[in-house]
């Protein structure tokens, strides 16, 4: 790992960040579309949140709170939920990541995955709380969200390695 890698500035990789958000929103839209409900997309995690957490941990010259607010609003519009609900959740999780981002980067990948899995489960828990349906009342929903959080934890090393490789190639 070079020193440059730890001092990434948003202005240098703006296109990569925006494309990853576009791609993540696209993947989330595919997961919302019911056609894929019986396939692998049923267990797809919230890619937008994964991308947001990745960039929050890697780019230290921004707080990413405004970005999380805007992405959350798009997510609200996309899922037809209460406007501001996902925006608030995205902001809370970004804030959590901001608090530990320096340590987070230094953690081994398995430790990062564990934290991401925990964040994702917290996200679904709060989502149920804000949108008025406790996931503990519905066993199927609880199991689905545990599986989604596990999948998020499992694919984190992949997403993280892939985007890190992009960053290393750019520098």
């Amino acid at each position: 790992m070079s020193d440059k890698f730890f001092n990434i500035e948003l202005k240098n990789i703006r296109w990569l960040v925006y494309s990853s958000y576009f791609f993540a929103l696209m993947m989330d839209s595919m997961s919302i579309m019911g056609v894929q409900s019986e396939g692998l997309f049923r267990y797809a995690p919230v890619f937008t949140l994964l991308a947001l957490l990745f960039w929050t941990s890697r780019i230290s010259d921004h707080t990413h709170l405004f970005t999380s607010f805007v992405l959350g609003l798009f997510f609200d519009a996309s899922t037809n939920s209460l406007l501001g609900a996902h925006a608030a959740l995205f902001c809370i999780l970004t804030f959590f990541m901001l608090r530990i981002r320096l340590q987070f980067k230094a953690y081994p990948l398995w430790h990062q995955s564990l934290l991401i899995g925990f964040y994702m489960f917290f996200f679904h828990l709060m989502q149920g709380f804000i949108l008025g349906s406790s996931i503990f009342d519905n066993n199927d929903l609880l199991m689905l969200y545990i599986q989604k959080s596990l999948v998020a934890a499992l694919i984190w090393p992949l997403v993280s390695r892939m985007l890190d490789r992009f960053l290393i190639n750019l520098h």
Partner: protein
């Protein structure tokens, strides 16, 4: 902190008012390229699937549609004579017709349906440029699908009758008993406010009552599947399944706004 407060203000405003409807439409319009890109693999699959479709199957489909068309034309003839008869009877009684469609219905194609457990909706390919307005009722060939909630210039979102936020005034076709049908998600509905003394049967058809002036009267909505009487409750606990093919319909009809005329009911 200010961003978080803004989120709370947005949530409260969105929950207690409809001021943010146009803002949501702007967000949906901005999201259109993302959704278009997301639906491309599905369109590609459908296109490939159609291209390699069996000629024999297509011939059978044409034959089936021709038969259906013939039967519908016959029914249309009957309907015309019945309408004439009703008009004559109304003229004799001095009353006016119940509801009138002011414009012809618009046919739309379903782009996709939502898989979210918190919100049940479909996206259709007609929007404000095609004179689609929020609150218009949407039906398919089997019954009521839902109502338009948001429009963008080229598409609209339709809240399904199974959405927990959707309430449809209905009546039991067999007895005329009125109630409110509430969505439970997962393709299930619950019929509320049917007193314990009412006559209920499994398989009873629920049709729109026309109250509330949102859905025109007489369209099939759901069929009762189970009902139970609770000793400490004044009303039945009734579950129903939608009459329409909510997650299978490809084409839907957007009904134009209806006007209830005085002098009836």
């Amino acid at each position: 902190m200010s961003v978080f407060l803004l989120c709370i203000v947005l949530m409260v405003t969105d929950n207690y008012g409809h001021f943010l409807s146009s803002f949501r439409s702007v967000l949906l319009t901005a999201l259109a390229p993302v959704e278009q890109a997301a639906s491309m693999p599905m369109h590609l699959y459908n296109w490939l699937h159609q291209d390699f479709a069996n000629i024999n199957r297509l011939e059978k489909e044409v034959q089936r549609l021709k038969t259906e068309n013939l039967l519908l034309k016959t029914n249309q003839l009957k309907l015309n004579s019945l309408e004439q008869e009703i008009a004559n009877l109304n003229a004799l009684l001095g009353t006016a017709s119940k509801t009138t469609l002011t414009r012809l219905p618009t046919i739309a194609t379903v782009n996709y349906y939502s898989n979210s457990p918190y919100s049940q909706f479909i996206k259709i390919n007609k929007g404000s440029l095609h004179q689609v307005l929020p609150n218009q009722a949407v039906i398919d060939e089997d019954g009521v699908v839902g109502q338009v909630i948001h429009t963008t210039p080229t598409s609209s979102r339709v809240q399904l009758i199974t959405d927990p936020d959707n309430h449809v005034p209905v009546r039991i076709q067999r007895t005329g008993q009125r109630g409110i049908l509430v969505g439970l998600g997962n393709n299930l509905l619950s019929l509320k406010f049917i007193p314990n003394a009412s006559s209920i049967q499994e398989g009873d058809l629920l049709v729109t009552s026309g109250l509330g002036e949102l859905y025109p009267a007489g369209y099939p909505v759901a069929t009762i599947t189970t009902f139970a009487k609770k000793l400490d409750q004044p009303y039945y606990q009734i579950e129903a399944v939608p009459a329409s093919q909510l997650k299978k319909s490809n084409k839907v009809l957007i009904l134009s706004d209806t006007t209830t005329r005085p002098g009836y009911e």
